[in-house]
Symmetry: C2
Subunit: 474 residues, 2 copies
């Protein structure tokens, strides 16, 4: 799809005919003090990006019931909040757990990010086969709910790897629907797809290929998906490339909030006149926190002039702690930071400031202030921080970016490149970034800002609608 | 190179003009009781395969000095044993250790077999860069020794991933030499090559591409190498495909030895009238011992009729125990076998017979007797056991083979296929193999025997000589 002249569809034109499906919906529920159900904003990056664009349009959004309160709300069927029709799907909890924990997060996520220690994982045994059946069941439930809610000819946007198979039943039973899928992760290369049992690989790819089109954040992931389809299905799916971008207004609102200003003051006290290297990440195996710390230590070792003069602020909040690999990784990250601090620290200087609390205004405050932003994932669908940083930073900070992040496509030649596996190379690039002269920093910051501001979230949404053929809807 | 009409060169015709270089040479040295240096046969599969073909030809073979006695022998320069000129290269021990342990076995081996747990390894830091320099130095020392020993226009066969760069200096300084390289491992795909620092990837590929041709056990690895060269160098190297095969005579000699017969009797006592699943491997991360045991357990669980009626004989001898990952893997292998035996075993039946002693005649005895031979590596350059088994087996045993082994190319459609990551699928195929009726077993054994016997070690050697252009030497 990419490369062809772009037609911008308008979400308002299709809104009444728009159905969105994602694992997490736009609202979640909880009990208030009096025991009544009340709504809260849904969590997660996708919801944060998409929700503001959909609010008030009358679109319908389907998500899984996650909490017990969600499950109760699900019994009420379609509800309305902030001008969004919302329906929560109550799935059997064990079925949902198998689909979400075992298949989505411990198989497809690991496969697409190349996180498997292949001499040990995965072991696709009987239990895993049951989990795959559960994944299919959850996808089928989503497909049925979509078909119940979607009026004739509606546009259906299905989000992410949790819901790869939804198109299977829509294509068979409701060919009138304009359903597209968007993947927020990378996609695996054929050599990695071979890890899956053949019948599973076929079902996965056929399920995705049954959508009118499949979207990715970069041409690289779309090409990988096409190569897998050519290998396994012998067919060529329709793909499109639509990188997500942050919403500058929403970032600006947070940046000017009192919470953000308070966090900025606190940060100023901690950093003082030292240089600041920053990272902002989930504690996630693909984010490469360990090698980031190793590179920082090599920098101190090989460039002793930086000892005492730079602080590595690592804002890294825990995630997926129900998966043992993530708990183990968190312990390793904390232990490495502690070891480096013990070895290098002095009474007046802590080299690594690792903070594992999840505090968005504080993250934005740090992004406004960094001298160097390190974004070095081993593989990443996009990495929104690589765009958020340049958008809000006001200190001519330097972006150091992994070539394995999807965002690399838009920032190649502008950001400083790192190979995430190359600890020495990363140390070299950090040193280069720290010593860049003010004029070069200004120029760098201007070009990465411009590249990050080139698109907005709305472009990403519009391109999905175009891919769905929704430009033709009156 | 493959696909073109095959000309069989004769090693005897080129022998006086033949130089071989490999990490381990054809002989090793030790001190006898009187303190005098004496020679022993060199260890390793490559030496076992190649040595008998070279014996008596007057070819010259260069290898690294491994033991202290080797290093003393190295001072004597070129020696002669069994009609082979032999020269041992004494390298600085620390330089050799860095090249062998850190680069060859912990980087190139891991990369080509996809064994990295990428969220943690590798970390290519300052220490690793020094190891890469050491690897280059060892390769340069081999190149210099080759050029010293090789007469004008000689054919030079350089073996394996330890010596990838040797062609660099030969191409520059002795273009008269007909030097080819042969890789016994798989070769990585471009997505994995990206793990290496760019300058290292370039040096590695350019070094290999500077040979007149690069050989691999299968078209799959040759294609991967070509894809890497296209990506990184923008050039197309000359490749050829020459799968190694066992030497049937040497196998027959071992099979009829008293040691082998004694081992066969002992095995008969242990197995009795039970069925026997066999594996014969180094304890090696790529060999997939853990999932083999898991699949066996799933077989017992899902087909209780096999409980007490089948023994899984795992002849798995330790290797590379200087690398911590191998020691850890060995412990996991032993612990899993012990757990399964404790859970399923009875006073009269031990489900898994794991033996970690290295006893070649005993291995051959077991290969003669198996009902099912499981060869399920996650990735393997060739896997000689997959051919040795069918060659010597005399009980119409069934070969269950991973599609990720190089040997799969020659045995596809003949052996029973497993996806090595698919524990359930492997259990299903083991059950299918165990229940195959006698007539089907006879037919199966005949066709896999024929495929395994189709080539000999001499074909493999001759094809290297052809690739070197040695057919033109008088």
């Amino acid at each position: 799809m990419d490369g062809r002249p772009r037609r911008v569809a308008n979400v308002d034109r299709v809104a009444g005919h728009l159905v969105i499906a994602s694992n997490r919906g736009p609202v979640s529920f909880r009990r208030d003090g009096a025991g009544r159900l009340e709504t809260v904003h849904g969590a997660g990056g996708l919801v944060s990006s998409l929700r503001p664009l959909i609010t008030g349009t009358g679109a319908t959004w389907l998500g899984a019931a996650i909490t017990e309160a969600d499950r109760e709300a699900a019994a009420r069927g379609l509800m309305e909040a902030d001008g969004i029709g919302y329906r929560s799907l109550a799935l059997d909890p064990e079925t949902y757990r198998l689909a979400y924990d075992v298949v989505s997060n411990s198989t497809l996520w690991f496969l697409n990010h190349r996180l498997y220690d292949l001499s040990r994982r995965p072991h696709l045994d009987r239990g895993w086969r049951e989990a795959w059946d559960a994944y299919r069941e959850v996808n089928r439930a989503f497909a049925e709910a979509v078909m119940e809610e979607a009026p004739e000819g509606a546009t259906v946007l299905v989000q992410d790897y949790h819901l790869s198979l939804v198109g299977t039943w829509i294509a068979e039973e409701r060919p009138d629907l304009r359903a597209v899928h968007f993947t927020h992760t990378p996609f695996c290369d054929p050599v990695d797809l071979r890890i899956l049992p053949d019948v599973v690989a076929q079902e996965l790819l056929a399920g995705m290929a049954s959508f009118r089109a499949c979207g990715f954040h970069t041409r690289r992931w779309a090409t990988a998906f096409e190569a897998c389809c050519a290998d396994v299905l012998g067919t060529q799916p329709v793909t499109f490339v639509a990188p997500l971008s942050p919403d500058p207004e929403s970032l600006a609102t947070t940046a000017s909030s009192p919470e953000c200003e308070a966090a900025a003051s606190h940060l100023e006290e901690v950093i003082g006149d030292r240089h600041m290297i920053l990272r902002v990440d989930r504690i996630e195996l693909s984010k490469n926190l360990l090698r980031g710390f190793m590179a920082f230590e090599e920098l101190l070792h090989t460039r002793p002039e930086w000892v005492g003069r730079v602080v590595f602020v690592a804002l890294a909040y825990p995630s997926r702690e129900s998966v043992p690999e993530y708990r183990a990784y968190r312990r390793e990250v904390e232990a490495l930071a502690a070891r480096i601090n013990q070895h290098w620290g002095t009474p007046g200087w802590t080299p690594i400031m690792l903070d594992t609390t999840d505090d968005y205004p504080r993250s934005v405050a740090a992004l406004r202030r960094y001298d160097v932003l390190l974004v070095n994932p081993v593989r990443d669908g996009l990495n929104l921080v690589a765009k958020e940083g340049p958008l809000v930073n006001h200190t001519d900070g330097v972006l150091v970016l992994s070539r394995e992040a999807g965002a690399w496509d838009e920032l190649a030649g502008l950001a400083l490149e790192v190979n995430p596996f190359d600890v020495s190379g990363t140390a070299d690039v950090l040193a280069e970034a720290l010593t860049m002269d003010p004029e070069a920093r200004r120029e760098h910051a201007a070009v990465v800002h411009a590249a990050a501001a080139h698109r907005t979230t709305r472009d990403w949404l519009d391109e999905q609608l175009v891919a769905a053929g929704a430009g033709g809807v009156p």
